[in-house]
């Protein structure tokens, strides 16, 4: 409740830290969620502290040791150009989780996958709210367009978007957002249809609040639970998609340490006797995606139990 209605004293409202604490309690009640959180935190910390965890740069080449296995000098081995795989994994995690390279020397905080989901959330929530709350022909048009987008094979959409606009971090973000938007919009529309029948919405309407206020201040915060869990799953999916794009040669351009591209480059050397360059980044992506899904699954189970 954001309205300071008479009769509810300030002390009775839960403080923000108390709310976070109750959220954490839900999280720690589930073993699955804790395991997931541990895996995700591992990668976040690894990405944040990348320079402390490896002496190598992700692009430095060691001509003496190409395609070598794990050793004391290179703990996970090197790729076909003699670059340290551990270093590339760490800096690759940065691109996924904590920074979005926009230009040559410029980057935004939060990773490529996160930005893709955020952008999808912004557009999807807006469309879902508008379609669900306003209804009528707007709903019809928005939903038909999104249906058409959903019927379109996702992989084809990816390939065409990237092939058309070229491969770069921003375009990967765009591709992820475009593909994610219809799903988010459908979810939010469903929630909106449910919430708009509640009494407090009726009350706000009678108060004469603007439609914009009702949509974004009354409905959206009350729909946040499922949206947050969905978003967490979507981050997992976005990392999946990023990896797949990179693997298909549609990801970030070299020499950036993109996990998917690393697998694609290393794949050629598996049968030639050095599987490491493909194996490690595959494991990295798999672990991060599985971690996020465990986290989201655990949270969902626990929150359902609370209800």
């Amino acid at each position: 409740m954001t309205v300071n209605a008479p009769g509810i004293s300030a002390a009775a409202r839960p403080r923000w830290w108390r709310r976070i604490w109750s959220g954490l309690a839900v999280l720690f009640a589930s073993k699955t969620a804790v395991v997931g959180l541990a895996i995700v935190l591992f990668w976040v910390v690894a990405a944040l502290c990348a320079p402390l965890l490896t002496p190598y740069s992700p692009t430095a080449q060691d001509y003496q040791a190409q395609n070598s296995g794990p050793s004391a000098a290179h703990i996970l081995g090197t790729d076909d150009l003699g670059r340290d795989i551990w270093a590339r994994l760490l800096y690759g995690a940065r691109i996924v989780l904590i920074m979005l390279p926009v230009g040559e020397h410029f980057w935004l905080p939060l990773g490529t996958a996160i930005w893709g989901v955020l952008l999808g959330l912004i557009v999807g929530c807006t469309l879902g709210l508008v379609a669900g709350y306003l209804g009528g022909w707007i709903d019809e048009v928005v939903m038909r367009v999104l249906d058409a987008l959903m019927a379109f094979p996702v992989i084809l959409l990816y390939m065409i978007i990237i092939a058309a606009v070229g491969a770069s971090a921003t375009n990967v973000v765009l591709a992820i957002a475009i593909v994610g938007t219809p799903g988010i919009a459908r979810l939010v529309r469903g929630l909106t249809l449910d919430i708009r029948t509640r009494d407090y919405i009726r009350a706000a309407e009678i108060r004469g609040e603007s439609k914009l206020y009702i949509m974004f201040v009354e409905i959206l915060p009350n729909a946040r639970g499922p949206i947050i869990i969905d978003a967490m799953l979507r981050v997992g999916y976005a990392i999946f998609a990023m990896g797949t794009l990179g693997f298909l040669g549609l990801g970030l351009p070299p020499p950036s340490p993109d996990w998917g591209s690393m697998v694609a480059a290393g794949r050629r050397y598996i049968l030639a006797g050095s599987p490491w360059a493909a194996l490690w980044p595959s494991l990295a992506i798999a672990s991060l995606v599985v971690g996020l899904n465990l986290l989201a699954d655990g949270l969902r189970e626990e929150s359902m139990r609370y209800q």
Partner: protein
Amino acid sequence: MARFILRRLLLMLVTMFLVSVAVFAITSAAPGNVARNVLGVQITPEQEASFLAQNGLDKPILVRYLYWLIGSDWQAGRLVGLPVRRITTPDGFKEWWAVDRDGALVQWRVEGENLIRRQRRPDGRVEEKPDNGRWRIKDPAAESARLAAYRAALADNTEIGEADRQAIGRAVDRILAILRTPGQDQAALLAALAGPEGELEALRDPKAAGRKQALQKAAAVVAGNDALLKALAVYRTLTGPDADRLQLSDQQFMAGQLSRAAAQLRERDAGSAARLQQAYESLKAGDLRATVVALEGVAPLLVKLTGNVGDLTAALQDGRYRPAADVLRALGDPGRTPFDAEQMATLPALLQALANALDDADPAVGRPLLQGVIALKAGRTAEARQAFRQAADVLADVGQALARSDAAGQARVGRVFWGVDTQNHAVRWETGTGKDVWVFIQGTGWKAFAGGPVEYVPLQRGLLRGDPGVSLRTGRPVADLLFIRLRNSLVLAAAAFVIVMPLALLLGLLAGLKEGKPLDRILSIGGMMFSVTPEFATGVFLIVIFAFWLKVVPGATVFGEKAPWNRPDMLVLPVMTLTLVELGYVLRITRASVVEVMRAPYIRTAFLKGLPYRRIVIRHVLRNALMAPITVIMLHVNWLLGGIVVVEAIFGYPGLGSYLLESALFKDFNAIEAGAMVLVVVAVTTQLLADLIYTLINPRIRYGGPN
């Protein structure tokens, strides 16, 4: 029911139309260029334009879409004035021919400025004979304007001699007078023009185009065979205006050239070789900036070692003879070319190659050059310089003769003809433009033509009439390959489906019945882990385990001409990858559905009524619980398609997915469109099937009836 299916099919058509428009719009708006993707970055702008024109890509987008959708043969028939028809030759090739008034199949080609008619006889052989009577004079008003401008510019043309210039000028004046006389028909114009055009013909060298081409080809051979020249070309490309449009494959290709140059220099100059090596490594890693920095250090040395022959070959390839002669003159000048020890190590061999190539192409130029090289190798430097200077003069003379021939050619009144060529285009040929037109012939390469094709309409019947066009990448009809690829993909998907469905339904049922028990936990979490792991990661794990460590099955698929079912061992890993990814998904859906049904009141009733457990599961749970998974699985097909693309990429499996991916990377637009259409049909059909199956197992739903 029938109405429902009809409605869905209609919806599919609408979706296909929208998808085709969307794909069209996106691929057309894209900055990257299919010509560069197909032919490499080092093509010239003219070649690029010619490639685009030959494939009809220079047309407005609406026209292109129309041709793609309903074909271009009707428009071509209008332009040519004869109907055009597609035939299939006994070897299985599709060819387009015009149908002449007497019913004969004809094509045309232009040799020099002669139009040649090719008539196909019923036995498949082709008869050729000159057909110059079909040329039409271009619009006299436009031509007289062009010639007037040409006449004015003639005075500034210093490439040709004074006497020639005056002769050409007089002829042009007479032609202009004829053109400006009003009220003449084609025949009268042709007769009147015979006189002055005959004079121009005398100034022309009929072999000029051939000579020019031979020199061009020789220069290309020299430039293409020498590792140092290629390294220099790489440097020029990287510092040139198109550097940021380079594709990854071009970079890899250019990196290979640098590596070869480094190998050649290694014994003579270890420092420069190391720099080249460094440039190679940087380029291979995709770091263009580091590559340029490394190359900058070596470029002057490369220029010196090659005696600037790179400029010479480039000039000859562009048909600029003066700069080419200047390079040869510099070789004859001790101040500019010292012939010191450093140069003598590489230059004689390169000059020898150049002299041999030019001698084959044009002995007049090559012979003195050859003598110079022999003298240089024998140590008689002064004599060599003398010969080089002589070669330079000859080359300049040849250049002048070619320029005169060009100029006289341009002074003629242009002719025009619309016909069908041998490469399945309707073509507008024009003469009198004086320019050679480069034509890319799939499988042969580039050829210059004097009677230039200036506009093309690629012949196709259009998607609606069952012809998705020609792949820009291979020049072969898209349909040929598409269906083989589709078949391969279907084999893969079907094999995975047959394994996944029973297994996933069974395991999902087990997990659902044991909800919350350890078996359920293991199955659900295991299933989740496999279903969220990207296909390529699963594929890599499987390859490493089964093909690399255990060595029980091959880790890649190579079928060649064979069908997938002839090599089942190669199908094992791709099918397994798809199975693992799909298994978890279907399992989870089934489990959730079983859990829900188990909580339903009618199941409780069944238990209370004392039915045996087995009977409850088989008779009551199974049927009700399978409804959700079956529809969801069918709707999941979109996702499965994506998985197949990735699996095909990992294992090099020649399916529809990898075909689409390659086409998308090349922007092979016809192939993408055709593949997208197939995908939409597959997606919509499976969704329709899902709905139908759903009605079959759930009698509560009836489509199309009253609610």
